[in-house]
Each structure stands twice: as C-alpha cells, then as structure tokens.
Subunit: 155 residues, 3 copies
C-alpha cells in the first residue's frame, strides 16, 4: 500500500500545501470582511437577515447595496476566479516533479501577489497597484500551466 | 510504478472522495434550481434565452431580475466561496495522515452544514439558521487548515 | 519514499492533468476578455480604475454597467460553477483507476463542451447551443461522480 504520509515528505508538495492553505485562508477571510461591512453598515441582501433591525417596512429599508460591501464582494469573486486555477494547475505542477526552488518561487510570488491584491482592492490603492498584483498572480499560474503542458501533454 | 488504485485503499482519502463528491453534486444542483426558477418565472439574463417567448420588444420584458432567482444565485455563490477552500484544504489535510475518525467527523460536519445552509437559504428559514450553518462549515475548514499548518508548515 | 514523478506516468492522471490545465487556462482567458471590454468600452466598477480618464465627476460617468461586460462576467461565473466540480470530482475519479479510454472520453467531452459554451455565450449563438454545451459538461461531471460513488463509497 502507498504510504500516504510519505507524499508529505516530498518538499515541493509540502510547500504547495502550505502556500495553498495560506492563500485559501486569506480568501475565506473575505467572507468575514463582507459580513463585517454588512452588519456595521446595515446593508443586507435577504429579508430574514435584517429582521432583527425592525418589523415590516422598517426592516426593508436595509435591503440595499453599498459601495464598500460591493467592493469586498468583487475582491472575493476575483480571488475565486484566480485561486481556483492556481489550485488545480498548482497541484498538478507540484506532482510533475519541478525544481524545488523554482516551485517555491512560483508559490511565494502568487501568494504575495494575491495578498497585495486584496490590500490594493480594499484600501483602495490607486491603480496600477491592483492591476499589477493581478497580473503577477496571473503570470505565475500561466507559467506553471506552460511548464506542465510542455513536459506532460497527454491528449 | 505507484499503483494508484492503492491510493483509494487509504480510508481517509476514500472518505474525503465520497464526501467531496456528495457536496460538489449538491452544489451542481444549484444550477438546476436556478434554471428551474428562470423557466417557471420567465426571468432571464440573456436576450437569446427568452427568444422563444415572443419577438422583439415582447421578449425583452423577460430580461429582468427576480427575488427568488437572485436568492438561488447567492446560495450558489456562497457554496462556491466555501466549497473551494474545503476542496483544497481538505485534500491536503486528507493526505497529511490525520486520524480516521477525526477526519470523518470533519467531513460529515462540513457536508451536513452545507446541505443545511442550502435548505435554510432556499426555504428561507429565519436567522440564525443560515448563519449557524455557514459558521459550522467555515470552522471545519479552518480547523483542517490549522492542523495542516501546525504539522506540515514548509515555507 | 513515494516517487511522485511516477504518479505522472499513470496515463489517466496525465490525461486529467493536460485537459484540466487547458480548461483552467480557458477560464483564465475570461479575465482578459472582461478587462478588454472594460477598457475598450470604458465601463468600470471601481473609481480608481477610471481615474486616468478624467477628474472628479468627469471620471464618475465611467462607473456604469454594460451588456457585453456583464455577459462575459456571467460566462466566467458559469465556468467557475462548472469547472470547480469537474476539478474535484475529476481528480478523485482519475485516482480511482478508471478505464483509460472511458476517462479520456469524459475529459474530451467536458473540455470541448466548455469551450463551445464560451463561444456560444460570447458570440452569442441562439439557444439551445449554450444550453446543450452546458448540459454535456454537466452530464460528464455527474457521470464521473456516479462511477466514483458506485465503486468507492465510504461514509
């Protein structure tokens, strides 16, 4: 039987596991940020969420949108759109036997870029801060996809 | 050569595979629910989707939004935002050699919480039903992330 | 120690890696398509994004929505909603030791259907082109989920 705990002795895979866990935890933080702004600004999407703030018509006034809440939601969706490809391509790339230092460089750049993207989106920092962070993360994922397809294409 | 079918003899991994398949199938059901409400309520986002209901201006009146459709879409997006971290962190956690009964407890709680979350969102049940379901799933994923980083951190 | 590079000698897994990398790269292209339409049509969601097009009130007029941009965003979200289940279920299915030609048929159908879905959404082609593409991809994922649960259920 394959000793699975041995899979975790592979350094590239362990590094991938660590960086992925960090970047996914960061993404999960966006849910808390959304909830925080919804509660402090009393901005809700569902009638049952603001039932505690009043009855009938009085509560309905909290069913509205808010710039800050929408900003956090866009940042969250952008995370999803970029972290899902990293998750899939990064996992397969890690299993394809890349050089350890190259792999870690990819993971560090991606995680750093996504954390900076969130800071740039939520502050907000002037462009091109956010665009730059986006394209670094994007480029890292494409670079891993390229190496994977170059060495292991099987259609 | 690694006998991959042996990977599936690892009980934690098999349990992860089963629960993940169930929770992803549940998430896929949300697409059907959206399509159902769009068709029965004649609420569409694309002109080509309602071309069969009339011509020209007559069809355009179906390009609208609807509370129930938006509710299903929010539930679907919330699924994505929470199941993606579970997928990534849960896979790595399963490979890190956790205790079988602890792992199964995590998976069961998560899948149960997400199914209850959908019921609470679509019925809708009064709060804090949905919030509670959300935080149980969220806590399970964080707990797996914590155990993973504590035992296998490699940066 | 498990020789991970051997995992990539498994043909089903290599095929999964190749098709997944292609379909995820296709999904990443949607970000570029959104950015392209936002820039050429001057349609932005964030004030800092259109700061270069004018000052104060002059720039604010670009904070608007646009049919074409919203269409690309819907196509992108639909990709996410369908590729995430394929990623999770497909990975586990690949590891469950399926027949090579059956597995490749599943992967090819899925990737082809999702590429056709994007073409049908962005052109746009009349229905039922997009609906058909959606249901082929959906059926492929369900078929893999069914085989996985039938052979490896462990709850």
């Amino acid at each position: 039987m394959v000793n699975l705990s041995k899979l975790m002795e592979n350094e590239v895979f362990m590094a991938f596991a660590s960086y992925t866990t960090i970047v996914l935890s960061k993404m999960m933080f966006m849910s808390i940020a959304t909830a925080f702004y919804r509660l402090t600004r009393k901005v809700f999407a569902n009638p049952e969420d603001c039932a505690g703030f009043g009855k009938g018509e009085n509560a309905k006034k909290y069913l509205r949108t808010d710039d800050r809440v929408e900003r956090v939601r866009r940042a969250h969706l952008n995370d999803l759109e970029n972290i899902v490809p990293f998750l899939g391509i990064g996992l397969l790339y890690s299993l394809s036997g890349p050089d350890l230092s190259t792999a870690i460089l990819h993971f560090r750049l991606f995680v750093g870029a996504r954390i900076y993207h969130t800071i740039a989106y939520l502050t907000p920092l002037p462009q091109p801060n956010r665009a730059l962070a986006f394209f670094i993360g994007y480029g890292v994922t494409l670079s891993m996809a390229y190496r994977l397809l170059k060495s292991k294409l099987y259609l």
